[in-house]
């Protein structure tokens, strides 16, 4: 490599690093500011000129938030809903995906395309009727109300179908010869082979529940049935807006998923990357 080329190469690298570092700063600084504020007391947070670091790292704000709001419940509710939705959705979607990908039955393509068309409909259009359904079923103010409508995902079905389609047909045929039924082929032969896709779907549907605000806010009225997202909306009080307390609550709410992300980075990234798949 010539000298000219190398300096050019290096200059390109410096530019890359500079832009990426800037992007990292922009992404991370708001989180750092949240953490710093969460440990300040109220007087410090409204002091002018502003101080960057808390004078004393104290946990008072966390204690206040924990005493005012059932945060423990928020965690339990969120995780319960996530677990049930993930498991239920995986089962329902993967079964349907298998049928759409591998079996032949009348109207299959029509039904599939009809399902896909539901993806284009904004979710708000379903909210009032779904809410009414929950009222009729006497399910408002329960975790079931948060779980039930979320079990049926066209997107997950679509995603899993794409993965089933990549598997060779010989697998099915061999299993059939061994006397395996369709359900057996699905459950014992093919499902284990698309494990990465199942993990992607699990992460995506978990994240959706994690982030959802409108539905839990509407369908449940008791704080004891709130998820973390809806619980956060409670932090903006009527009287005083004590931001150190609000930030303490936010910090508690965001931490579990960030920790999970650090441990399961590869799976998260693959999961999200799959949302770019198109048919």
């Amino acid at each position: 490599m010539g000298k000219m080329n190398r300096t050019k190469y290096k200059r390109g690298h410096i530019f890359t690093h500079a832009v990426l570092i800037l992007a990292v700063l922009i992404s991370v600084v708001p989180f750092i500011w949240m953490i710093l504020t969460a440990f300040k007391n109220y007087e410090e947070s409204i002091r002018i000129p502003m101080t960057i670091f808390p004078a004393r790292w104290n946990f008072d704000n966390f204690q206040v938030i924990l005493s005012k709001f059932p945060f423990g419940r928020f965690y339990i509710n969120t995780f319960t809903v996530m677990i049930f939705v993930i498991l239920g959705e995986l089962l329902i979607s993967s079964m349907a995906a298998y049928a759409f990908a591998r079996l032949d039955f009348p109207l299959k393509n029509g039904i599939f395309i009809f399902c896909l068309s539901l993806m284009m409909v904004p979710s708000q259009i379903f909210i009032i009727p779904q809410y009414d359904l929950m009222v009729k079923l006497k399910l408002t103010n329960t975790l079931v109300a948060l779980i039930l409508p979320r079990l049926f995902s066209v997107f997950s079905t679509f995603l899993l179908r794409q993965f089933f389609l990549t598997l060779p047909r010989d697998l099915d045929d061999a299993a059939k010869i061994d006397g395996c039924g369709f359900f057996g082929i699905y459950f014992r032969i093919l499902l284990p082979l698309i494990r990465p896709a199942l993990i992607s779907v699990a992460i995506l549907s978990g994240l959706t529940i994690w982030k959802d605000l409108l539905w839990p806010l509407i369908v449940n009225s008791s704080m004891e049935r709130y998820t973390l997202s809806a619980g956060l909306a409670l932090l903006i009080g009527e009287h005083t807006t004590n931001f150190p307390q609000v930030m303490a609550g936010s910090l508690m709410a965001v931490t579990p998923m960030i920790v999970a992300f650090f441990f399961l980075q590869k799976q998260f990234v693959e999961g999200i990357a799959n949302t770019g798949i198109k048919g």
């Binding site: 990292v24 032949d104 369709f182 965001v254 990357a273 198109k278």
Partner: protein, 301 residues
């Protein structure tokens, strides 16, 4: 019946299994989505409230809606969010993905940290930025003051509030799209670049002749998804701007308007009408985008 008997036992079993396996999904979709969709359209023509009897009112909700200034402002705001956010999210995330794809040292750490907003719930993001944007005590205005500037009421000044909300939305969405693009970039065969290098192509040529065309289906799909998402913006507005704020009229989106009417004021019928309009708009925009995609996007094979 004949139709059924003609088929082998195996074939019959396959058909039955097929319906059984899509059954749970179809029932769920049918009840919670298809039925809900049509009931919602019916509601949009009633005076349904949170409680009380339902009365059919024909198209009165839509007449009221189209005569309401709030609706047109909310619609205008929503389009502004789309026009500002979608291109910026796509361009920034694409740029970051291309840079990350160069695999300079530390790429892993960069990617991890830039990705953080994607695993954070919008409710928390809204609260964090509400604090950052605070007029009296927010860190941005502290910086503005320190440099001798005039403080800005980011979340309650009509002229900037939409930009402030859009900034937060872009901040929150870039990381997701970036990951999608990164996966797309890694899927482009290296052989193409190697061939181009032999021909002496410059970086720019490679970007415009290979990378972007190869990635165009992904870009279009991401833009479509982003557009549909931005059309439904609600969470950030709900958390950052209080109900009687001076900034709300200039920030209110269609979904905020829907939430306000349907669930704060309890006008379910009117709220349903708003969602029907939202649906129609998204349908049209999607159709347009798909039409243009056919014309412009690079098709493999």
């Amino acid at each position: 019946m004949n139709f059924w008997k003609k088929r082998s036992e195996m074939k019959q079993k396959e058909i039955l299994t097929g319906y059984l396996m899509i059954g749970p999904l179809l029932i769920g979709l049918g009840v919670f989505y298809v039925y809900s969709f049509f009931i919602n359209i019916f509601y949009s023509m009633t005076n349904k409230k949170t409680f009380g009897a339902i009365k059919f009112v024909g198209l009165r909700n839509f007449e009221k809606l189209f005569a309401s200034e709030k609706f047109w402002t909310a619609l205008g705001n929503t389009f502004k969010y789309v026009v500002i956010c979608v291109p910026l999210v796509i361009v920034i995330s694409l740029l970051l993905a291309i840079l990350l794809n160069r695999n300079v040292s530390g790429t892993g750490i960069y990617r991890t940290l830039i990705f953080l907003p994607a695993v954070t719930m919008p409710a928390a993001i809204g609260l964090i930025w509400k604090w950052i944007f605070n007029y009296e005590f927010g860190v941005i205005n502290a910086a503005v003051s320190a440099f001798g500037g005039e403080r800005i009421a980011w979340l309650s000044d009509k002229s900037v509030v939409l930009l402030a909300v859009a900034t937060v939305l872009i901040w929150a969405d870039v990381s997701l799209r970036m990951i999608v693009f990164l996966a797309g970039l890694q899927g482009i065969p290296n052989a193409l670049y190697e061939a181009a290098e032999i021909d002496g192509a410059s970086e720019t040529t490679k970007l415009f002749r290979i990378t972007l065309p190869m990635l165009s289906p992904t870009i279009f799909f991401a833009a479509l998804m982003e557009m549909i998402g931005v059309f439904q913006i609600f969470d950030f507005i709900y958390l950052m701007i209080s109900a009687n704020s001076a900034g709300l009229p200039a920030a209110r989106s269609l979904v905020s308007y829907f939430y306000d009417e349907a669930f704060v004021r309890g006008n379910h019928g009117f709220g349903s009408a708003i969602t029907v309009v939202l649906f129609a708009i998204i349908l049209i925009m999607t159709a347009l985008q798909l039409y243009f995609q056919k014309k412009w996007v690079y098709q493999e094979g």
